[in-house]
Amino acid sequence: MTKKILEICIGTPCYLMGASELIEYYNNLESRIKDKIELRTSHCLEDKCEKGPVIKFDDKLYFDVTPERLSKIIRKKTQ
């Protein structure tokens, strides 16, 4: 099975808005779900810096992402 790609922007504007909490969330995922995802980091995702933290999951961009939202996004798409 090909893994779904989770790209988290760690550029300074996104970092200031809590990108590290998203990375931490990914690191603590249960392996059942984590195994289906490949994590990549980015320096900036399509210049949407004003709306950080920005992520891309399965080719779709999401803005203002919190760990809670990330959890919903991931769980919905990895069922």
């Binding site: 760690i10 550029g11 300074t12 504007p13 970092y15 200031l16 808005m17 809590g18 590290s20 909490e21 990375i23 931490e24 980091t41 320096h43 900036c44 810096c49």
Partner: protein
Amino acid sequence: MSNNTISEVVKLKRKLYVELVKMMIKENLVEEIDYLPKKMIRDDTPRYRCCEFKERAIFSERIKMALGYSTLNNKNIELHELASDLYKADNINNIVEVIEQACDSCPIDKYIVTDACRNCVAHKCLNSCPADAIVIIQNKAFIDQNKCLECGKCARECPYGAILENSRPCVRVCEVDAIKSDAKRQARINKEKCVVCGRCIVACPFGAIADKSSIVQVTDKILKKDEKTAALIAPSFVGQFGFKVSPETVKYVLLEIGFDEVIEVAEGADRVALEESREAIESLENDRILLSSCCPAFKKMIVNDFPDLKDNLSHTDSPMLTTAEKLKRYNSDINTVFIGPCTAKKEEAADSEVVDYVLTFEELIALITGFEINLEKVIERREIRDASKFGRQFAYSGGLKGVIEELSEGKIKADNAEGLAKCIKKLTNLKAGKSNFDFLEGMACKDGCIGGPGSMINPKAARKLIENFAERSNLKLK
């Protein structure tokens, strides 16, 4: 993730800092600042209060503190008036303040009657209450929260322990009991007792407690071409600026945005290490147990709450003051900006002649963002070579302890305490003559400065990065 969670209020504060810096750069702060609450608090902004109007009123107070002004002393002043003279900011007053409008929404009733209430005949609670706040409804005591003074008499009187104290998040984390409720049941900080550790700022879920910032003043200084400004970066800075951002890149960027000089505070820490280990040996000969003086919160707590131990405090200046003093000695006109994880340093700086401003890492990253620089994209570097591995270790708990043991060649038996609660324990034992160390390193923050309220990353990760950085130094301690 750091110990400090990034809630919506924290994000809002950070966005505000970025906005202020951008306005400084565009030179339109005074003209635009009155519109900022409306611009930043819209009807779809996540909110904690009833309506965006109240949210905006609170936000205005937040702006005052971000400009370095007191919210308590500037109640009916418009933002543009404050912004038009940034250097009147009363930074010397309380660094940490409660924003009154924000605090009233803390829903916690301090005393609550539990089901253990048996409606006993004695009604000791009812009789003890000085405010007549207790009534009996359906065989159970009931506290009228509008009348309650939070004095706690009922809880002490109830023979069944049925009344519980339910403390507010801010009160619970304040180890020096500096927070009390006033007649309107709002939190109040006693400035004398407060050691500015910053815990309550992090703990309040409504962001009702804030620290004053110097971010606009520092932005102004670095934009001024005719003034010299130095950045004094705390030993804990390594790794705080982003996952792949090296210390050398941080230095490059600071010089790029207008600082004229960047120096590691570990440089001053090196000299403190030498001086303090010499003092420790001397104290040992005189049977005096020595207490470290680098952490201003630890120091202030001793002065306030352990006056008997005041003379045990080391006379050596903190690394921040030591570094700043040297810079000012060679160039008295230079502005000195300490950059660290610490709120307590804001008060230490305000009391000193040599440190002009303090920024936390959080504030500095907001400042860099305001300059539209993305550190992760910067590849340039500037060599950093100010300090030995000894000074660089001051950032985490146990660091100074190790340094003192090593420099005294094992003659000094050193111990350490991290977090005010543990410091209090060790000091209480020391006072009672029940301790077995010659030197105590005390740090108000858990894990030491890397766990400070203005830090950005997990203290464990920070510690590893700093250890590597310390090992990389090839300077010898003179």
